[in-house]
Symmetry: D2
Subunit: 360 residues, 4 copies
């Protein structure tokens, strides 16, 4: 009989739904711990109750402090707005609970650093919700790079482009700096910074420009940046909520001395692989591809939501093993390091200088 792991989750909106669904999917897999949906917290009790009912959360509370104090809870899952990341997560870690927190880890690098230190000091397992690491094509890219298939990496370029910013009401929390911290940087940029780090190594310097095109928005609508990696590779990062025609295009390309890789999250199940001239479109659904033992025969694609199943499966396994989610899962250290890059982007935009990414 698989032992249970009580989960308390903060947040019931987009991420709340994605995580809830994934916890339930874990029941269908072999896991060393069985997640039990103990408690869901949200300020709007009615809305939270509806979500809790749908996914089987046993309790609804309106104050996350109840979850921190709840002895049934072994894992605290924070899917709330950015401004609610640091305090509850730190409290939960200090209470000895394992923690997973959505990205960006904190409102800035300072918050993220405090979260990381708190989790380390408490010796709990910690994970930052960079779910794109759990896309089979991304894991395959990492495996190929690790195996030397593309040689020495010289270029990394990623652009995360959406277009909803033109049409969304300006009073969304994502446009409010007090709640969101930054705009495209933390929302979209954090994802591609993490992928840059996961696939090509630490970022040494950044030069960036931020821009708010829609006057009603309190945060950046878009940024562009050049980067240098510690290993000498160079690249570009770019994110926008104002790229008409692009819906959720998180696209990257990596060029190495022996080959190249390209990916776009709009075509989640595909990896483009070049050894010589010309890219080969690999449908990442073969039995020996990452995570595919959980799924279907070749050619039957998985969805974006399924990446959370992989992510939480990985987390639960790490908790059971008493270890860490590294290197394939993002730790709070990864969340913090990403935040330093985000902060360096903001700093460079202000100073007009190439900024070295520094860690405290």
């Amino acid at each position: 009989m698989t032992p249970a792991l009580g989960v308390g989750m903060l947040g019931y909106a987009f991420m709340g739904k994605a995580h809830s669904r994934a916890y339930r999917a874990l029941e269908e897999l072999e896991t060393p711990l069985r997640p039990e949906l103990v408690s869901l917290s949200g300020r709007d009790r009615e809305a939270a109750t509806a979500v809790a009912h749908r996914y089987g959360w046993q309790t609804v509370v309106t104050d996350w402090r109840e979850q921190v104090a709840d002895p049934r809870i072994g894992l605290f899952d924070n899917g709330g707005p950015n401004a609610l990341h640091a305090e509850p997560t730190i409290a939960a870690a200090r209470a000895g609970k394992h923690v997973i927190c959505e990205k960006p880890l904190g409102l800035d690098a300072g918050e993220a650093h405090a979260m990381w230190r708190a989790a380390e000091d408490a010796a709990v397992v910690h994970m930052c919700g960079f779910n794109y690491r759990f896309v089979p094509a991304i894991r395959l890219a990492r495996q190929l790079i690790d195996a030397g298939a593309i040689g020495r990496v010289v270029h990394f370029r990623a652009r995360y482009l959406q277009s909803w910013g033109w049409d969304a009401p300006a009073d969304r929390w994502r446009f409010d700096p007090a709640v969101a911290g930054t705009g495209a940087i933390g929302d979209l940029g954090a994802h591609i910074i993490d992928l840059a780090r996961y696939l090509s190594g630490e970022i040494a310097t950044v030069s960036a420009v931020l821009k708010t095109f829609v006057p009603q928005h309190g945060v950046d609508d878009a940024f562009v940046a050049t980067i240098e990696f510690e290993n000498g590779a160079i690249g570009t990062l770019e994110a926008s909520r104002l790229a008409r025609g692009r819906v959720n295009s998180n696209a990257l390309e990596i060029n190495g001395s022996d080959g190249s890789l390209a990916f776009d999250v709009e075509r989640l199940n595909e990896l483009e692989v070049a050894e010589g001239p010309g890219f080969r479109r690999v449908l990442v659904t073969e039995p020996d591809h990452p995570f595919m033992e959980l799924w279907w025969p070749p050619g039957h694609i998985i969805g974006w939501g399924d990446t959370f199943t992989h992510e939480l499966h990985h987390l639960v396994t790490a908790i059971a093993g008493g270890g860490t989610v590294a290197p394939h899962g993002a730790t709070f250290e990864d969340g913090y390091r990403c935040a330093e890059v985000c902060d360096a982007i903001v700093r460079s935009a202000q100073t007009g200088r190439r900024e070295t990414v520094r860690y405290r």
Copy 2:
């Protein structure tokens, strides 16, 4: 409190997994009936038990007759091999259970006809598992056609290409005519015949060639066919398990007097739409796209397995309403009519003549 609907399922392999997962996903949606996973039947008790455990089936039996006799079961779901479709499904319908059966409905049109008549006579809800009707892009294609967006349809072409046939062991049941009936025809061709009917209307004639290239295979590896529709449109159908490079490419194109549509299941979330010259790639993930109220913000794609959630949601709703799954779900009549086209393909391949599709 949502009333329950007891489900008994035959089969625990590929389709068993797809359906089990979808029943569980229904719990997260609003449904008028709540599926209860009462009983799973399979000849190999041990294997069935493992699957039952994973998905929460309450009972495992090795004889489907127990399910037919089980008063707790209101819906009989047949996901077994083709040769096990007719007898158990007919028995279940006669026992007053609603029925869903995987495609192809029977081993031939005769079996399929008997299944349809039995279900009609028993006045139960019946559905044939053509899940591709529940791909959002396919439903959108149907909506666009119904709305006249592409005018009068003149061409329909579909090809369902896989490549596993070169490498698979020859003793699989799918190569055995006694168990599978046909090869590429019933396995892949049935899907595109159903899509042809769903999107362009009844097929009037077929001319076809069948071929078994791998001598060890007892069934057709591939077929090619030309078709005429009752409405005057013409087209081609083609399926193969021997198309190197293609993994699960179920691709179709429809040309009308005012526009065209194109789709490939390897890119499940995309529909190509042409009004004038040039196709527009539509990511079928907008809030007003079919089924998308169940899912994520735009650009976050769904997976192949999720089409079964849509399918079973549709079925359960029909059962609750006391109606039929038509026109968007495939009934046993659709399964039967598809079988007549399949039989006409076989007949034409033998006679070398253009064969009229006839219904008994």
Copy 3:
């Protein structure tokens, strides 16, 4: 000093322009004979004169018989409407002139056969204008197939789709059976039949449906066909002038036991090559790719018109060598064999039977 080859051309419209331009381009290449643009014939003297002036044709005549009688002419190039293919070409061959004639070779197989026999009897070099054989990607496909790269061919499918038929005035000669013979068959189908023969071998049987959707058209707007090759491969052919969204999509795919190839003339410089799962996009512009020694550094694409330069270069070289344009150029025998397939398509459409392609 390169000896001259006097050219007389019939026709000054689409093909007249394509050939004129290519003859001029030959001057920039090394050729064993130097084409001299001696004489252009056309019924409309004024229009012909304008074209002659543009491309440097020395004389304009309104009766092709003057060209047949002109001793300066060594090569007769027939780019006129289909109904003007047989008589002038046969007369020219009998007058000892080498001949190139646009496709389809004759109005039917009978005419085509007479043309072939006449050219053979006259022992002149003869070529049928299947210019797609001179697309670098197609020649590369042939090289790969000849080298065994995709193993034994099992499937060939091609569809040549255009959409101008919906909008063009109905009094164009291409809709007039007296001038054009057939519609989509001879215009588009002939190209893909020739490619089928060039890449996969002789066609043994066809089953087809023809259709005229626009009542004002005197010829077929579209056809669909299944084919069997003498080597056992099977396939589909399809052509239409009524496929909205498609402009000039001559697309084919070949599946073999070890790999596959795919091509679309709208992306003339690309060949898709599959060895295992997934196709690699090869830009056919590398120095060692066919014809590329004539052109630019890699990645700088050539145009559709440039295929005629390759074709006429090949023809002139064959004439100089006293040989044949086979196997890479299409001879009148190829034109005739293609015509027999076209006729079998028409016959099958009428009889509703699978028709064996027979040669007289």
Copy 4:
């Protein structure tokens, strides 16, 4: 009778071939002046003679000063290596000859400025060889932008990626700073800077990183840059000769408040156009598309070399009209302004600061 325009060309390699071929193609078009291939200059008389013979250049000289002094020459065409751009071109302009010079205009902005001033002072027509402005899809993009089809431009991103740098001998002139000035910047970057200016307006600032990955190379192998436009748009520029898998991928995307455009020179005949979500692939071969009155029926693509025909046609028309090649052709002012952006890229790479582009 069309009056002649004597042409003297410096250089007989890549650009020499491209220009020669285009001058000859002009004879087939209606032009107000008829280019006469008077004189070709090159240091290697034998090689130059071979090229001259091929394309019909009447004279070969080894010293361009002879061309400057030749009264038959009305247009001086400089297609030599970068270090040979300034002096001969300035001399030719001062001698009253119209001038076209390949890009990059000079070795640096100082040279380019002197060339511009000399041409202006001499009141001759001057053109810088940014041939991508003469790609039909690029001209169409400009037309759409000018017509307001995509609204206010917010983002421009371009990347020009090749891969030959890994494999080429290190002693090529393109790797020698004395002859080439810069590497990827002047060779590839200049093209995308010009397209940025042509399609989105003047560039105000740049932040950049340069990199030489192959130690034997004397120039930059790659650069990355962020840019700000005077109109407030932001973007990225990137060029590399070390991007495995990419052959000649000059790809750009422009996002505006109402729509987006995307283009890649590897698919020269296509423009991707987005009005709402999803891009439409437009084959830029319709009769009303730019330059298409010179070519074929829709769907019959043109080649890279044909862009020079458009470019020189434009130049000859401007010369005949006594005007300028602006705004659709690039003048020496455009070449100079591009050079200032190149220099700012180099400067920013050195200072690590965001550099304002300044004009002297």
